[in-house]
């Protein structure tokens, strides 16, 4: 018979919509509105998992997100989702789930042997052993421990679902849609405030859905449904079920995860699985309710032993009983409610066991004063042993036991900004402290108002107060208003294997042992025993541990303190935090203006930061990248080549103080640079280390264009703005980054002038436009452009820039007019080869630790003016006699490799760190020279040209003999530049 634990009527499930599901290979049926847990219970399945350490049988403890036990692997294949709480997993037709953390079947878990050995596996036992022999830890002990540990498994297949992110703003965020949250939302919503109300459950209403109370003339669930319906119709209210507020961050920002598709077999087309919202709220009402806590007694962890309130939720909301015979163990009046509700539905109440002398009596079932001292049942509860107040014992025959130790307000979010909760004696629980996150108030059970009437009133009052409303048109229904009647009781005297944390298998005995060994602070207890470190973060277990600690230390519970509550409120899919930033969309792609054209040429692209740049342009018949790069280099040096250099940063500097400004940011002088001229500039950080280099072109008296390296475009611009705004605020100078505003191409090679002459409207002969000239020009009969006669390759070269919109056209035109010279497009590799051949420093040399001295530019640092970095560049450590100097390197054997990253050693000295002489920064094969060449830094290098050295790269197992040479491999006199 299916669903034999389902009542014949009632509950908030849709019996007209049966749903088939599979658990551990077996098929079952439940209804729409069920959770996996309620559907399993309806089918008489109590055993749902195994504990972490002892592999003890585990069933549901709760009916909510605080569940520590009933964790399953939900779904299959690449959607497999480990550690999903069966208590929150919404049932859907076709759901599949597996139990986890077992070796063999769930019923016969071979690792249950650990339970037999539990006396050895006490708290912290692993710190005391497994140390001999030392090598056995990694080889033997640890692999065994690792394989036994862990809970569910990750599929290791790429997550196929999409996650989105979004931003929401509101006047009032209400966290939780129980009676307090709904009353607050109605109050604020009817008053016209922009309200967001979020609840982690798929059915809003909180405990109203789980209780049999009436609110006025309605059932609680109907009142909740009607209220939610009204809120949904208010345009100023956003109702967000299935949405967990995960954390309270600074300045009223809350993280929220909305589960869009987790109740479906697969997300609908185009829909994400989940959305991570950042909610910016002016005010927040925390109405997150309370969580019932258990009582520790011997063997209190068997499937069938649950929180009393959870039994009530299953009965009232899901129309399910965990068993036909149920007992209750309580220290407060609330536990009796479960007995009443279940009895009314025809469940046999074996007895209500209450520790208190003055117990509410019942004519319907037996009420006993006493304590539960043990339980039986290998895979599920069968009997409960009770010791009565008079010392006699009773055995209760039952398959479920509801335990109630009182309620803990869900104060977590009040502590996310390190506020501390306060102790409340009436509740014997922590309630929110005074130090709340900015804009937050707390209402309802989360504040300690546990009655329905108190929650409704508290919610309304909180909304009125926080929005500063004088009146309201919300009339609250008459509701249950029972006082708190509770006697604090945490564990049954004498118990030992009594579970506090049933997932991590932390028992009363472990806490006592921890105390005995001196782990007496709450943080030590947590870390030594792992109490509260399970996936529920101690929501049901921490208080018991604290109470025992307090007793052992002779302190009060608040004096023992609490551990720190940290986000997220419940575990959150990492995919949701990642959003769409994965795969190719991890970072945006920046494309250069010639990208389309380069793609048509079959270019191979490389990531340079977020840019994609053409790396080389393979031609038919070329089988290796080197063939292409060698060809591009040779063709450029022999005739002409073109390369997109748009990615270099460009900063437009204008104003009457522009030249003075450049004098500040560059270590070398710019005041005397003539209009129409360009100069190389070296920029230091204030600490005297080279920050970046580039050129500054003076287009007018009060107008410069500064270029930066690709990588430093942003930091250099930021730095320039700092210097302008913070250091020299009265300078008449304005800056704007124009990196993407201009498409810029290097046209290099002896025929570059002939090519450009065909498109530039002005005279660019050597006389009219000599080396380092710059000008605003026009091209192609009138298009405004900029031309710079600068060269990174060492050839006669120009950089030409046009507004980006014309970048593609200009490249195509250059290629057209260059055809007669066989113009060759070249990529970043050829660019790199040519700059190494020429000895120009680039990113590998400007690595954030090199000085002007290291680069051989020490004399560039002007001492006649104030510039950033000039003073600190004079420190002794940056000016040592044997400082590194940039040098060139060539192999003695022309066929040998010279790998970048290799270190330089003296020919006859030892090869170790103490004798390290320097290292290779950049290396390549020079097709012009026919052998490898490299740039590097060598101690006192400028004095060591001609020296033979050992180049060692033990990492890549290369060692070769090299000669130290000038870094200028090609045209050291610079004749080509000026041709």
């Amino acid at each position: 018979m299916t669903q034999h634990n389902r009542f014949s009527k009632g509950g908030q499930i849709d019996r007209t919509t049966p749903q088939q599901f599979v658990f551990d290979g077996k098929s079952y049926e439940g209804y729409a509105g069920d959770t996996l847990a309620s559907a399993l219970l309806a089918n008489g399945v109590r055993l749902m998992g195994r504990s972490f350490k002892y592999h003890r049988p585990r069933g549901v403890l709760t009916a909510g997100s605080e569940e520590p036990n009933a964790l399953v692997e939900l779904r299959e294949g690449n959607r497999q989702e480990p550690n999903t709480r069966a208590t929150t997993a919404e049932l859907y037709d076709g759901l599949t789930a597996k139990s986890q953390n077992r070796l063999g079947s769930l019923r016969f878990d071979l690792l249950a042997i650990n339970d037999r050995l539990s006396n050895f596996f006490t708290a912290g036992f692993y710190y005391k052993t497994f140390m001999w022999p030392a090598a056995f830890w990694e080889k033997l002990y640890e692999p065994i421990i690792r394989h036994a540990a862990g809970l569910g498994s990750l599929s290791l297949k790429d997550d196929p679902d999409v996650y989105d992110k979004g931003f929401l703003h509101c006047d009032l965020l209400i966290i939780g849609a129980g009676p307090a949250g709904l009353a607050a939302a109605l109050t604020a919503g009817r008053a016209g405030a922009d309200v967001i109300i979020a609840d982690e459950d798929f059915r809003m209403g909180g405990r109203l859905n789980s209780e049999t109370f009436v609110l006025g003339d309605d059932s609680g669930a109907d009142w909740a449904a009607a209220s939610v319906g009204e809120l949904q119709n208010l345009p100023n209210v956003r109702v967000m079920p299935r949405t967990t507020i995960i954390g309270a961050f600074d300045h009223g920002i809350y993280g929220a995860v909305e589960r869009i598709s987790d109740h479906l077999k697969t997300p609908e087309a185009g829909k994400p699985r989940q959305i991570l919202w950042r909610i910016y709220s002016q005010r927040t009402i925390l109405a997150a309710g309370a969580t019932e806590r258990p009582i520790a007694f011997e063997n209190n962890d068997r499937p069938g032993i649950m929180l009393a309130s959870a039994l009530r939720t299953y009965a009232n909301r899901f129309s399910v009983t965990a068993d036909k015979r149920v007992a209750i163990f309580t220290n407060n009046d609330d536990g009796h409610r479960t007995a009443r509700d279940l009895h009314a539905k025809g469940v046999k109440i074996a007895a209500v066991v209450d520790i208190r002398p003055d117990i509410p009596r019942s004519t319907d079932y037996e009420v006993l004063q006493g304590e539960v001292i043990d339980t039986k049942g290998r895979l599920g509860l069968t009997f409960v042993d009770v010791q009565l107040a008079d010392g006699s014992t009773r055995v209760l025959d039952c398959g479920a036991l509801g335990v109630s130790g009182g309620w803990n307000p869900n104060v977590h979010m009040t502590c996310h900004q390190r506020g501390r909760p306060q102790w409340n004696d009436t509740l014997a629980a922590f309630v929110p402290g005074a130090d709340l996150p900015q804009g937050m108030t707390v209402a309802g059970a989360a504040k300690g108002d546990l009655s329905t009437a108190g929650a409704l009133e508290g919610g309304r009052a909180a909304a009125l107060a926080t929005l500063d409303l004088k009146t309201t048109n919300v009339d609250l229904p008459v509701a249950e208003d029972a006082p708190i009647a509770l006697k604090p009781f945490w564990y049954v005297e004498g118990c030992s294997r009594a579970w506090l944390d049933p997932q991590n298998d932390v028992t009363v005995k472990d806490v006592k042992l921890s105390h005995q060994e001196g782990f007496r602070s709450v943080e030590h207890l947590k870390r030594y025993t792992t109490l509260g470190m399970a996936t529920d973060q101690g929501k049901t277990s921490n208080m018991g541990g604290l109470a025992i600690m307090a007793e052992l230390a002779g302190k009060s519970i608040p004096d023992v303190g609490t551990t720190i509550f940290r986000p997220p409120y419940t575990p959150t899919a990492i995919g949701a935090f990642g959003g769409r930033h994965r795969g190719q969309d991890f970072h945006p792609k920046r494309l250069t203006p010639s990208h389309q054209w380069a793609t048509e040429q079959g270019a191979v692209f490389v990531e340079v930061g977020n840019w994609l740049r053409a790396q080389w342009f393979p031609r038919d018949g070329e089988t290796t990248w080197r063939e292409s790069v060698d060809r591009e280099v040779l063709a450029t040096r022999a005739s002409v080549g073109v390369c997109d250099v748009t990615t270099l940063g460009k900063v437009d500097v204008q104003g009457t103080d522009a030249a003075d400004f450049l004098n500040k940011i560059y270590c070398n002088g710019f005041a005397k640079l003539a209009v129409g001229k360009t100069r190389y500039g070296l920029m230091l950080r204030e600490d005297g280390i080279a920050m970046d280099d580039g050129t500054a072109a003076r287009l007018a008296e009060d107008h410069f264009v500064v270029t930066t390296t690709t990588a430093n475009a942003l930091p250099v611009y930021r730095h320039m703005e700092f210097v302008r705004q913070c250091l020299f605020p009265d300078m008449d100078v304005q800056l704007i980054s124009t990196t993407e505003a201009w498409a810029q191409y290097a046209v290099a090679g002896p025929n570059s002038r002939s090519v450009l002459e065909k498109i530039v409207d002005q005279d660019i002969s050597n006389d009219a436009f000599p080396f380092m000239a710059c000008a605003n020009i026009t091209v192609c009969g009138g298009l405004r452009a900029r031309l710079f006669r600068i060269s990174f390759s060492g050839e006669l070269a120009f950089e030409i820039a046009v507004p980006t919109a014309y970048g593609d056209a200009l490249m195509r035109r250059i290629m057209d007019v260059g055809a007669e010279h066989d113009i060759t497009p070249y990529g970043t590799e050829a660019l790199g080869v040519m700059r190494i051949e020429k000895g120009h420093a680039a990113g590998n040399e400007l690595n954030g630790t090199t000085t002007a001295q290291n680069l051989g530019m020490g004399r560039m640092v002007s001492k006649k003016k104030d510039s950033i970095g000039s003073i600190l560049s004079e420190r002794e450590g940056l000016n040592m006699a044997d400082d590194l100097r940039q040098i060139g390197i060539k192999p003695v054997d022309p066929d040998a490799l010279v790998p970048a990253g290799a270190h330089l050693m003296k020919m006859d000295g030892p090869v170790d760190a103490a004798h390290d002489q320097g290292y290779v920064t950049s290396a390549c094969y020079s097709p012009n020279l026919g052998h490898a060449i490299a740039l590097g830094f060598l101690k006192n290098g400028s004095e060591r040209l001609g020296e033979r050295m050992r180049l060692v790269s033990p990492l890549t197992q290369i060692e070769t003999e090299v000669e130290i040479v000038s870094a200028h491999f090609i045209d050291p006199e610079g004749g080509r530049l000026r041709a």
Partner: protein, 95 residues
């Protein structure tokens, strides 16, 4: 965090890039006799208070203003936000 930009209103801190103590505005005189020591202290030593801290934030994804934000390093509360340029001028910086 939210930074109340003096010109642009409340902005998410993610729009900004942080640099550090606003004392970095007080760059020493390069011609002073004690310039070496002054620049060392300016460049390297920090008050690093647990409490109120004046600090520099750059509105990188915004109007490119440098701001001086007075923020509590223990609570992250922000009390005032000013344009760094105004602060610099008020502290006597010019050209």
């Amino acid at each position: 965090m939210i930074i109340e930009h003096p010109l642009l209103g409340p902005r998410d801190a993610a729009e900004f890039t942080y640099m550090g103590d606003a004392a970095l505005i007080d760059r020493p005189d390069w011609q002073s006799q004690t310039a070496a020591q002054d620049f060392y202290e300016y460049g390297y030593l920090r008050d690093n208070p647990a409490g109120w801290h004046k600090e520099l934030w750059f509105h990188e994804a915004g109007d490119r203003s440098w701001l001086v934000v007075t923020r509590n390093t223990v609570t992250h509360e922000i009390s005032t936000v000013e344009l760094a340029r105004d602060v610099a001028r008020a502290r006597g910086r010019s050209k």
